[in-house]
Point group: C2
Chain length 317, copies 2
DNA sequence: CCGATTTACGTTAGCGCTTACATATTTCGA
DNA sequence: TCGAAATATGTAAGCGCTAACGTAAATCGG
């Protein structure tokens, strides 16, 4: 499912899809059992059933809908003979919704059906059902306390206010080199032995053979890294590029890449290549835009199992 | 929130509300940041951005929508200058959707915004965000394997096929007496000392003083219980009624109640009373329908802290 | 090779909901 | 006490989506 890969960006879409699924399933059940109600009626009918005759606004507040939605749904329920509208004698503005006898009977007869719904959902989803319900409830509470739009705008302002800097290696940054690379390695592949060695001791495996490491810093935060490894005199490998998942989209990767390429030129390098994997499509596209050219076959004698992409830098491409 | 009390019955409604909330928040963000897109466009635009030009059906499948929805959304995107329709030369039926340069630029500029969205959602919802996403993903998978409508209908058939029986106490049922009562006690109140004593040793505290305990059995499952306690000769208390939450709605409570009242009559009892709590509204309604009459004040010298309802049975009411 | 079926897509009608507006009634405050 | 503000509800227009239908193109099967 593509939407899953968008993560938090497509929360609305995925929740909607799930919602429609449950509505549809409930309607299918009601239909095949011959119950005279629809899934969308349930909140209103159950509320009137539990709380007795209530005004439109009371119902709307209880079930989290607008009064218009309740009013229009009431039209339908009245047409279906499930609800009666009654003027409130004490307050002429109000309309009191009352279940008809037909509705009372229908709801009373639905007991076993609702029991089956609860047990059927539990049978289908298992423990995931309660996890989903718990997560929904927690999010509902959290959204009341901290509206998400405000948080996003605050984050945006904070990101925009902080400068994105590219800085060279310093011993204090060693752990970040591991952290930032472990993130994508563990997510998409696994950490090979050669990775662990290089990531744990970059000074020995990258700096000492004449390489360079850059970091991207956003304010205080270290959000990305990239290394230029000297394989032999004049031949460099671009490797170990990683940008923190939550900070992608800021252009840190491109900035790191440019820094490495500039360093490669400063050293008067002859060849700059990289190995990657076709699964990392956005990264590969970025390499192409920066001047790397896809090679027809993998690099002979590659260090990595996961390498199925081999690219070489062509200046001015 | 009333919907929360409906639990699995109102899953669709709550998911819809959450979905609308996220859509709305995203649109608010895009609007205030001046981004030229809307929240509902994102899946289509991102898919074209990630996968390149694609046919309508490809997009629809990827984002889990009907081809009609994609087609209509495309109309809007074309009007907005974000997408071009192109005939597929190889297959004349297909329409290929292509991002315009304007869209490419707009999406490229949205990187920091999406970064802010991810971080803002995390800031608002904290760990609940990942829990929600995990739960959604798990439910999506589970629903593919076991469609929920089928499970519900199967449960319904199973429930309907099994007889609901009321049976008297037997030593083998002792633990059920504790379990069924602990369920509602822990949910709504807490288990008081007197509860623990009575529930752990019903033979001594209920049967020995001349009381009776009934159980409701659905097939093999013990789903409810109710006790008739003899307080003094001719004076009985209805107490410790509990029906398993997942089996409510089958009428087990009413059947148990009727059994206790019949037993009270068989013993030529003079007075039958009960104590309850107003929070258990459905139970109180059931007592009323069975002939219990609400008393104006709590019972003097009640054993229970939670008792704020005192009812006495009036024959033929 | 040609009719039947399948596939791809657009169009239309309709549903459920929202926003915006209109109207009637009540409440508030000087 | 009376006008302004607030409240309660209904109505209309519009949005996003679906289901159903129509049409054109490709594919299948004898």
């Amino acid at each position: 499912m593509y939407l899953a890969s968008l993560g938090k960006l497509a929360l609305g879409s995925r929740l909607k899809a799930l919602s429609d699924h449950f509505y549809g399933a409930a309607d299918e059940v009601y239909r095949t059992l011959g119950a005279p109600i629809e899934s969308r009626w349930l909140p209103v009918l159950r509320y009137l059933w539990d709380s007795g005759p209530s005004t439109v606004t009371d119902v709307a507040k209880a079930i989290g809908q607008t009064h218009s939605a309740v009013s229009q749904l009431t039209d339908k329920l009245v047409r279906g003979g499930m609800v009666r509208r009654r003027r409130d004698l004490a307050d002429g503005r109000r309309t009191v919704l009352v279940l008809t006898d037909k509705a009372q009977d229908a709801l009373a007869a639905l007991g076993p059906t609702w029991c089956a719904v609860r047990r059927g959902v539990a049978a289908s989803l298992g423990e995931h059902a309660v996890r989903l319900l718990d997560a929904i409830a927690a999010c509902e509470r959290a959204l009341q306390d901290r509206p998400v739009a405000g948080s996003i705008l605050a984050e945006h302002a904070a990101i925009k206010a902080m400068p994105l800097e590219i800085v060279p290696y310093a011993p204090a940054l060693r752990e970040h080199f591991y952290r930032l690379n472990a993130q994508w390695l563990e997510r998409h592949f696994r950490i090979e032995d050669i990775d662990r060695a290089v990531l744990s001791d970059p000074e020995r495996h990258i700096l000492q053979p004449g390489g360079t490491i850059f970091f991207a810093r956003l304010g205080e935060e270290v959000i990305g890294t990239c290394a230029l490894l000297q394989e032999s005199p004049g031949v460099f490998e671009l490797t170990k590029m990683g940008v923190d998942e939550t900070f992608r989209g800021l252009g840190a990767g491109r900035r790191l890449l440019d820094a490495c390429i500039a360093e490669f030129h400063r050293r008067n390098g002859r060849t700059l290549f990289l190995e990657s994997n076709s699964r990392l499509a956005t990264a590969v596209r970025m390499y192409e835009r920066a001047g790397f050219v896809m090679q027809p076959s993998v690099r002979p004698g590659s260090h990595y199992e996961r390498a199925d992409v081999y690219m070489i830098y062509r200046q001015g491409a």
